[in-house]
């Protein structure tokens, strides 16, 4: 027996009411693609499930002013196929398209992917590169948190699904001279966790030959998506040349701490992160019509 009660609320307010009434005995399920395995293996126990799959107000991808806003119940398939994301924040569309398989992408949601707190979750890498904020509703009202603050340990989320709910992700729409890229390496093309994934957001000058700003997110390195801050600082203000890329490659391997894992060995990940970083920058810059000078 997995659980005794099953609720199918249609609004966020109803969810909050169920959570309050159940006093920590009931937890939220979005797509359920991770939770079902955890429950079956006895790693998560709960008396009841609040299935938020029917809450229409949490399913959207839209541009509002300077921001792109994504409802937490948006599925990976919807992210991957979104014309808006493909055009303006490709890193997230590409990342979502790599998750699991079509069956998993049709059920799994971005909110669930983040609350599951796997540091290499593809959408987490993309959202980190986009510097996204999560909007969370709970008994004390609403709060906003940067994505990097949603991880409290290995597989542990700041968001407690027996008390609160992520409703939305928000990030600044990449504008003029800004672009993104996503790289992923896995043992198979489907149904495989990443050996390495890397997301980049960057901004060039109008001449597209100087890197003005950059964000680099890498997984799986730590208990949370890793921001390669030193590499970012090193890159800011540099000309877009082969030499700059080389320096960036040397910097990033000093700041990441990959581990040997079932997916791949640390030494291999170190070699690959150099390749991925260079490719991501080349691709993002190329997307803006720029190029790397020899």
């Amino acid at each position: 027996m997995y659980w005794e009660n099953y609720y199918l609320p249609e609004t966020v307010d109803e969810v909050l009411k169920h959570l309050k009434d159940s006093n920590g005995n009931t937890r939220i399920m979005a797509g359920g693609t991770d939770l079902m395995i955890l429950v079956r293996k006895g790693m998560v126990k709960t008396q009841g499930i609040i299935d938020i799959g029917n809450i229409k107000e949490l399913k959207y991808i839209r541009e509002e002013g300077k921001y792109i806003k994504i409802g937490a119940l948006t599925t990976h398939s919807q992210l991957a196929e979104s014309a808006l994301l493909k055009k303006k924040a490709r890193v997230l569309a590409l990342a979502a398209g790599c998750v699991g398989s079509p069956q998993i992408r049709n059920a799994g949601t971005i909110g669930g992917n983040i609350v599951n707190a796997h540091s290499a979750a593809d959408t987490a890498i993309a959202l980190t590169a986009l510097n996204a904020q999560a909007r969370i509703k709970g008994p004390e009202g609403e709060k906003e948190k940067p994505l990097s603050e949603l991880y409290t340990g290995v597989g542990k989320s700041f968001v407690d699904p027996t008390k609160e709910i992520i409703t939305e992700f928000v990030f600044e729409t990449p504008g003029e001279n800004e672009s993104t890229a996503f790289m992923r390496h896995a043992k198979r093309k489907a149904l495989a966790l990443p050996i390495l994934n890397l997301g980049v957001w960057l901004k060039t000058n109008s001449g597209k030959n100087i890197l003005e700003d950059v964000r680099i997110a890498v997984g799986p390195m730590d208990y949370k998506p890793l921001r390669a801050v030193e590499t970012e600082n090193m890159l800011k203000g540099q000309p877009l040349t082969e030499k700059t890329l080389k320096s960036a490659q040397e910097t990033i391997i000093k700041e990441i701490k990959p581990r040997d894992s079932f997916q791949g060995r640390a030494a291999y990940k170190t070699d690959m992160v150099k390749v991925f970083l260079a490719r991501a920058i080349v691709e993002a810059v190329g997307d803006l019509g720029g190029r790397i000078d020899g």
Partner: protein, 584 residues
């Protein structure tokens, strides 16, 4: 548990059912609605056999609480087309040979339908992407992709899929219609886990907690007292000798381990209960008192003088000698000698259908519907271990979802038979994917040392090899596999002087047995690499050295057999060279 009402539309028909709030969608479809075309292959969302369309989108129904479908529309394979009125996808799957064991087929069809509902002009890449969540172990996917392309063409109104493939009697040399094909594409085929009988109970086995340990005591009292448990059985409850094994002279595998466990897959107790869930709960209430023993996990360790013994007779199960000609003379005639060590790993068959069976004991006849690649062998083992005359035991092979050699050995057949025999109830036993992987046989991991000599014109003069196969905790087909390796020590290449020592060794690893090509592939890793090395050293091409040595009419193989007719190697080789464009 308080039941809850669910409303859903399945294949155009509206259902309102009272069900447990934690039932999964796949179980609702299979057990409450009775549509067993939707399969369970992994229960983990990985294999895609459970794929259905929810509001038109393919999803894994094994990962989904049924209530996620409340108020929604579902299509299963049964909603695609009927035997009398096949959907173009079903016709194309049959016409293009995309249906083999048939277990992945329903899920595969659902993913394909979802694609074609949106896109009638898919590229091969679109198709491969759309079925990337559906695993198939038989076809290699090519035929499935071709079938989906053909179905799309028919749906576009371009050209119809040619079906049936054959109509006349002259079938030799032409593609024929698969005899069990239609029920496999409509979801009507009954695999072992698709059988349901009134009053059916469920059996589950407790597996060893150690790779090597003595069993001091098994306390089943608490488990037996659990409500809903019909019986808990240990080795003492088996009427017969409690031993099985596919090699008639080496029966070494207990049905239920009594005094000792030799790998994690050993069953130590069997629970029969009103439901699979109760049986699983009862398993956790059985206390086994083990005395762990040091184990051996590699051939190197297992053959040491002071190695822990997996079986009383020691760890060396077989030393197969294949000596012919004069090995010293052979090497003395060689212009070049190459020598190296090779190691191969264990492989899992990973058939998409896990082991399952249903047993009934009625009117003195014990009937077992089960997956099997050896119904008569299984019947014999059941009869001996239950002390029943063979004439009172029937083993009926159900449509079997892939075997590849892994379903020849006894898996659950004697256990499920024992459960029905003891309780008098129809009993079903179905392995989880995890249990299947832990208990089933594997391809033997090999350790090989090879030395091959050749004349300056490329002709092989001598082969010397020592082969060690890790057969795990029990023999299974081990001696046969190692003997086959010795007999095809340089595959399809002639050599007159050879000295082969093949050893089959017990360890505390998973049991290795029969798997596709039975001992030949491991050797090919070694000798094909060395053939290339010989060619390089002799300055001839890799193609040429194989032509020089390949089996032809009149060739003598390592066992001394002279090949007379239907050798076929050279023709096959030439075709491969031609098609691949390989020329080095």
């Amino acid at each position: 548990m308080v039941k809850k009402t669910i409303n859903l539309n399945v294949n155009g028909k509206q259902y309102e059912l009272e069900v447990e709030p934690d039932i999964k969608l796949v179980d609702l479809i299979r057990e409450k609605i009775g549509l067993t075309g939707t399969k369970i292959g992994c229960n983990n969302g990985e294999c895609g056999a459970c794929t259905i369309l929810l509001e038109g989108e393919p999803v894994a129904s094994c990962m989904m609480p049924a209530f996620k479908a409340h108020g929604k529309n579902i299509i299963t394979v049964e909603g695609l087309g009927t035997a009398q009125n096949l959907h173009p996808l079903q016709k194309a799957f049959l016409a293009y040979g995309a249906v083999q064991c048939g277990f992945c087929t329903p899920g595969m069809l659902m993913s394909a339908k979802a694609l074609l509902d949106k896109n009638l002009t898919p590229t091969e890449q679109d198709i491969r992407q759309s079925i990337s969540g559906n695993l198939c172990r038989c076809t290699g996917y090519k035929k499935i992709v071709d079938a989906i392309l053909a179905a799309a063409a028919e749906l576009r109104g371009e050209h119809e899929v040619k079906w049936p493939v054959t109509t006349g009697e002259d079938v030799v040399g032409s593609s024929v219609t698969r005899v069990d094909g239609i029920p496999k594409v409509t979801g009507e085929s009954k695999f072992a886990n698709d059988y349901y009988f009134p009053n059916m109970a469920y059996a589950q086995a407790l597996r060893s907690a150690h790779p090597h340990a003595l069993i001091k005591n098994i306390d089943i009292e608490k488990a037996q007292a659990l409500a809903g448990v019909l019986g808990v059985y240990t080795s003492k409850d088996i009427p017969g000798p409690n031993i099985v094994g596919i090699m008639p002279h080496i029966k070494d595998t207990p049905v239920l381990a009594g005094d000792k466990v030799r790998h994690y897959g050993d069953a130590v107790a069997l629970v029969v209960a009103e439901s699979a869930e109760i049986a699983e709960e009862a398993l956790r209430m059985i206390n086994v008192d083990y005395e762990p023993l040091p184990g051996v996990f590699s051939v190197e360790d297992a053959i040491k003088e002071d190695a822990p013994k997996v079986h009383e007779g020691g760890n060396m199960l077989l030393h197969r000698k294949m000596y012919r000609g004069d090995i010293e003379k052979g090497f003395s005639e060689a212009a070049v000698i190459v020598e190296d060590n090779f190691k191969t790993r264990m492989n899992e068959h990973a058939y998409i259908e896990p082991e399952a069976g249903v047993a009934l004991y009625e009117g003195g006849i014990l009937k077992v519907y089960t997956i099997t690649q050896g119904a008569h062998y299984h019947r014999g083992e059941i009869a001996v271990n239950l002390k029943l005359p063979v004439s009172k035991v029937r083993v009926i092979q159900t449509t079997t979802g892939g075997g590849f050699g892994g379903k020849i050995d006894v898996s659950l057949q004697v256990l499920v038979a024992l459960a029905a025999f003891k309780t008098g109830r129809p009993v079903k036993m179905a392995y989880s994917r995890e249990e299947s992987m832990i208990t089933s046989t594997k391809r033997h991991p090999y350790y090989m040392h090879y030395k091959i000599g050749a004349r300056s014109d490329g002709k092989l003069t001598a082969v010397q090899a020592e082969i060690y196969g890790d057969t795990g905790a029990y023999s299974s087909h081990g001696p046969g596999v190692l003997t086959r390796t010795a007999a095809s020590i340089v595959g399809p290449y002639e050599v007159d002087n050879l000295k082969v020592d093949a050893y089959c060794v017990y360890t505390n690893n998973p049991v290795a047995g029969a798997m596709r090509a039975f001992g030949s592939p491991q050797a090919s890793i070694a000798y094909e690499a060395l053939m290339d090395e010989l060619a390089q050293k002799l300055g001839i091409s890799a193609v040429e050295i194989r032509r020089i040595n390949g089996y032809k009419k009149g060739s003598v193989i390592p066992t001394g057999q002279v090949l007379t007719d239907g050798v076929g190697f050279m023709e096959t080789f030439d075709r491969v060279v031609e098609k691949s464009g390989f020329n080095r």
